[in-house]
């Protein structure tokens, strides 16, 4: 049981958040609203403005600013940008054998950026442990150099761009592939964020104390094309190698804003991995999720989610299927609520469906 909740904790803990579905408002590149060109985390001045104007149901003037505007931006040094996130979830799981719930503090990060000329230094601090206690710890940190309006270089500890940077680390395309909680890596990456294309090329190395528990050296590549300014379609590739294994990841994804209210996010990743033990065969796994959403009124969405993964297609019991959905509500800037009900089947554990639901609260400074 403890193991199960550890897995839940890992699945839910989110080092960053992003709203890729904002592509429906023609935000094709993440760095309009986030300092990080891969999205998530610290907001830009524009991103804060949009969190009130576009994301939330209600807002008053300057409410979306740091500390709800209580601290006027002019009181802060102009080179400094400060933010932070607190994210917590109540999880419920029920099957014939078990009925249980748990509160998990997923994220408690204070994040800041200091910008001098074209270079920004970004770092986040504080993190919860598995007993929901907050302690001091450097999370993501990096130096970001804006070579031109469209070209950026980044070096430090972060997760390189791969697939959709979705904040739902419960998705098989995230945690199952090593892109969830605690997966920040020592990395360097180049980004091109143009009018029609986004591209990223990076090298990285995971750490023994990361969730991956291995030192994986990797090269990653992502290329995305924008269509009609509200459709973003991309491919990603990843080549990783540890002492014990090597793997290739190939991914296709689409972030499609059909209208200003409706959207679809979909990603399929194929993993080929092989143990370095002589004679070992390649194993292929498939990981897929799709989420459709509709914004009924500003800030209130209903979503439906489907997720299916088979970590090794030659072993049928490696199949996990999850389907469900629920509302997401951004009532005011700084606040996000998400309620999700799903049915889930993990063949390795049971052949029966189980209820799996969570209520997530996210507060950002």
């Amino acid at each position: 049981m403890r193991l199960l909740f550890s897995a839940l904790l890992l699945s839910f803990s989110a080092p960053a958040f992003a709203f890729p579905e904002m592509v429906r408002h023609h935000y094709v590149n993440c760095n309009a609203c986030h300092v990080n060109p891969s999205g998530g985390g610290l907001l830009t001045e524009y991103g804060r403005g949009m969190s009130g104007e576009v994301l939330s149901t209600w807002h008053y003037e300057n409410e979306s600013l740091f500390l709800h505007g209580a601290l006027k931006p002019e009181k802060l040094p102009s080179f400094l940008n400060v933010g932070g996130d607190v994210r917590a979830v109540q999880v419920h799981r029920e099957s014939r054998q078990v009925r249980e719930g748990r509160y998990i503090l997923m994220q408690t990060a204070l994040e800041g950026a200091a910008t001098v000329g074209p270079v920004s230094a970004v770092a986040s601090y504080f993190a919860p442990d598995r007993k929901n206690h907050v302690h001091g710890e450097l999370g993501r940190f990096y130096l970001l150099g804006n070579v031109t309006d469209a070209f950026q270089l980044k070096a430090g500890r972060f997760l390189p761009a791969f697939g959709i940077a979705d904040p739902h680390h419960i998705l098989s395309t995230r945690q199952s592939l090593g892109f969830g909680y605690g997966s920040n890596r020592d990395a360097a990456e180049a980004h091109y964020s143009g009018e029609q294309w986004h591209g990223a090329l990076g090298v990285s190395r995971s750490r023994l104390d990361s969730a991956l528990r291995q030192k994986e050296e990797s090269v990653s590549f992502q290329l995305e094309k924008f269509f009609s300014d509200s459709y973003r379609v991309g491919v990603s590739a990843w080549r990783g190698e540890t002492e014990q294994m090597r793997r290739w990841l190939w991914s296709l994804h689409g972030i499609l804003g059909f209208t200003e209210h409706s959207y679809l996010l979909s990603e399929t990743t194929w993993q080929n991995r092989q143990s370095k033990t002589p004679g070992s065969a390649w194993e292929m796994g498939i990981f897929h999720f799709s989420r459709v959403g509709y914004e009924f009124f500003q800030g209130f969405h209903l979503t439906a989610l489907g997720d299916i993964s088979e970590t090794n297609i030659s072993q049928p019991d490696s199949l996990t299927v999850m389907a469900g959905g629920g509302p997401i509500w951004y009532p005011r800037p700084h606040l996000e609520f998400e309620l999700v009900f799903t049915q889930r089947k993990i063949l390795r554990q049971s052949r029966e469906w189980e209820d799996y639901a969570y209520l997530m609260l996210h507060y950002y400074l």
Partner: protein
Amino acid sequence: MKTLFVLSLALSLSTVTQAAVPLKNQPGSGKVEFLAVGRPSMLKIHGNAAGPEAALTAAGHQLKGAIEFSLDKLDTGISLRNEHMKEKYLQVKEHPKAKLTLVDAPVDPSFEKDLSNASEKSFRGKLSLHGKEKEVSGTYTAKGGVVQAKFPITLSDFGIDVPKYLGITVADTVNVDVELPLRKE
């Protein structure tokens, strides 16, 4: 007498071919769209307005006349952005309308029959915007009475300040698309 008859016929046919054909769009039909790009991040700002009013004529292998629309109808999808655009930059209270007067917009000889051109054509016109008039040029197509024109404008040419908001600066060049379903009056 025979020569006189042929001459009269030729003159009357010539008059028929060169007669101006007045064209209008139905009230409320058609649209004007613009695309502006904000940097950094290449943010795409789409604005649109329904119901431009066209008063055109097709005559002498040319499309002539003017198209105008109320700038107050422009919508970018974000209310605060609309407010900034209209009040601070376009200053629509002082300059409520934009007007494109065609200077050189050639049409196919058969245009008057089905309001279509066989291929895309170039055009020139004078755009009156924000109290200034400047020549603009672009391309347009016409098919079954639906005219679609596109042309770039330079904001600074019209005395419009380059829009800036929360760290995003809009490029000086903005692309404009006009769609007009025309019919013969």
